[in-house]
């Protein structure tokens, strides 16, 4: 792979998406501020905004840099540059993850405030060293972002492999349904899962195992995307 040219293609996509990206970052920051400083109404609005940012940026990345290239006939221009299909696919994945992760990290911070626990007070009461709290916070971020990245990767895979707006919207809608209903509503009520969720909340072994599973799932999805991309025979 030619990493210099891959980096140039990633920069190209980020530059072309700079204004929407700025808008999503602003919205994510606004959601965070509302959640932190507001009362229950503002907090609820902030959390809704954070979810909207995650959904909006997912749609925008799929329809813009991923699916838009072929539709706007710019794919032929990109593929006529000195890059292989694998270079182009890796660049597209890296650009999509970058464009998603910047606002998503801020939105995930908002979702951390969803916790019913007063985090600073709990940290103070725990009498643990700072590094222990830092590891805990980073793990929590990793868990939340990891879950979103798994879903984002599934939708990204659908977009890159199918190159169809219909399929991508269908998969995104399905993912949101699964996440909104199964993961957020049903999973926590299952008796068999309660010990695992308790262990997850306490930062026991379940936490690193879950983060590792998320990482493995993302790696598997990316591998499948690259393998299927390799089998494509048309790049215009």
């Amino acid at each position: 792979m030619n990493f210099k040219n891959i980096a140039r293609l990633v920069r190209k996509d980020c530059w072309l998406m700079r204004w929407p990206l700025a808008a999503y970052i602003l919205a994510a920051v606004a959601g965070l501020v509302m959640t932190v400083i507001g009362g229950s109404v503002l907090r609820s609005a902030g959390i809704t905004l954070a979810f909207n940012v995650l959904i909006g940026v997912s749609f925008h990345v799929m329809l813009g840099p991923v699916l838009g290239e072929r539709e706007r006939k710019t794919l032929a221009f990109v593929m006529s540059l000195p890059v292989t299909p694998r270079d182009a696919a890796v660049a597209k994945l890296a650009a999509a993850f970058t464009l998603f992760l910047i606002p998503a990290t801020i939105a995930a911070t908002t979702l951390v405030w969803l916790s019913p626990i007063d985090i600073p007070a709990a940290m103070a009461a725990a009498h643990r060293p700072l590094w222990s709290h830092m590891i805990g916070m980073f793990s929590y971020y990793a868990l939340v972002l990891g879950a979103w990245l798994v879903f984002f990767s599934v939708v990204l895979g659908a977009a890159i492999i199918s190159e169809s707006v219909g399929w991508t919207i269908g998969v995104l809608t399905g993912v949101l349904f699964v996440f909104g209903n199964f993961v957020m509503q049903i999973l926590p009520t299952l008796h068999g899962l309660r010990p695992y969720l308790r262990a997850l909340a306490r930062g026991q072994a379940a936490l690193p195992v879950t983060i590792a599973c998320e990482g493995a799932a993302i790696a598997a999805i990316v591998t499948v995307i690259l393998m299927l991309q390799q089998r494509k025979t048309s790049f215009v």
Partner: protein, 241 residues
């Protein structure tokens, strides 16, 4: 360096609605080949296969002695492909595209780029979405020519352009011809091919039906279009019989 600019051996590609079959073509360095055919004859598919934008089902593609796709990056760095099916980013300026291409090619010549900008009357600060079709073709040619591509492959570069712009682009391609940089191109216009090419290949329904020197065909006041139509109708008569 190979003696052949372009070599296509046994190229075939099948789609559900169309098949390109058994194409064998050799374009020696220093010679120019024009492809003529109706819409859907397979000219663009053939050039896309040459450029690696479409993978052939079978056959061998070689450019300047290197094989596609094994040496895909090298070939793409050596070939300047311009097609009517290719677009630049509408929201970005031509100057932005020039910087993108400059960073990816070692052969980029800024002096030549500025000269071509001036010659084409293009504004580097204008967003591409504000360019006319003719200006976009000129912009694509600029991006291909300012980096001194060893091989220029224009796919119907004059399609849909007004006569003035068409003339400008033909003049530019004729200049490339004198540098022997444009070994293969496609066109609907026999006059364009007669102006630029040494040899002509006629395509019909995904197959090459003739590959001859242009000079041999133009005797007796005949045009390439007329010769093409004669060849096609001869095939159709044979099939009907």
């Amino acid at each position: 360096m190979s003696d052949c600019a372009v070599q296509l051996c046994g190229i075939s590609k099948t789609y559900s609605h169309f098949a390109l079959g058994g194409i064998d073509l050799e374009v020696p360095c220093g010679s120019v080949l024009g492809l003529i055919g109706r819409n859907g004859a397979g000219k663009s598919t053939l050039l896309r296969i040459l450029m690696g934008l479409v993978r052939a089902d079978a056959g061998r593609v070689s450019v300047l002695g290197r094989d596609m796709p094994a040496d895909e990056r090298w070939i793409k760095a050596s070939v300047g492909f311009v097609s009517e099916d290719m677009a630049l980013y509408g929201a970005a300026t031509l100057g932005w595209h020039m910087r993108l291409v400059r960073d990816m090619y070692v052969g980029w010549d800024q002096t030549r780029a500025l000269d071509l900008l001036d010659r084409f009357h293009l504004d580097p600060d204008q967003p591409v979405r504000g360019l006319s079709r003719g200006q976009q073709v000129k912009a694509l040619l600029l991006l291909a020519m300012a980096r001194h591509a060893d091989v220029l492959v224009p796919d119907e570069p004059t399609a849909g352009l007004d006569p003035l712009v068409r003339h400008e682009i033909l003049t530019l391609l004729a200049a490339s011809r004198s540098e022997r940089r444009a070994p293969i191109f496609s066109s609907h216009y026999g006059d364009d091919v007669a102006t630029l090419a040494d040899n002509v290949a006629f395509m019909r329904d995904g197959r090459l039906i003739a590959h001859l020197p242009v000079g041999e065909l133009l005797g007796g006041g005949r045009s390439l279009e007329k010769v093409f139509l004669e060849k096609v109708s001869a095939i159709e008569c044979r099939r009907a019989a």
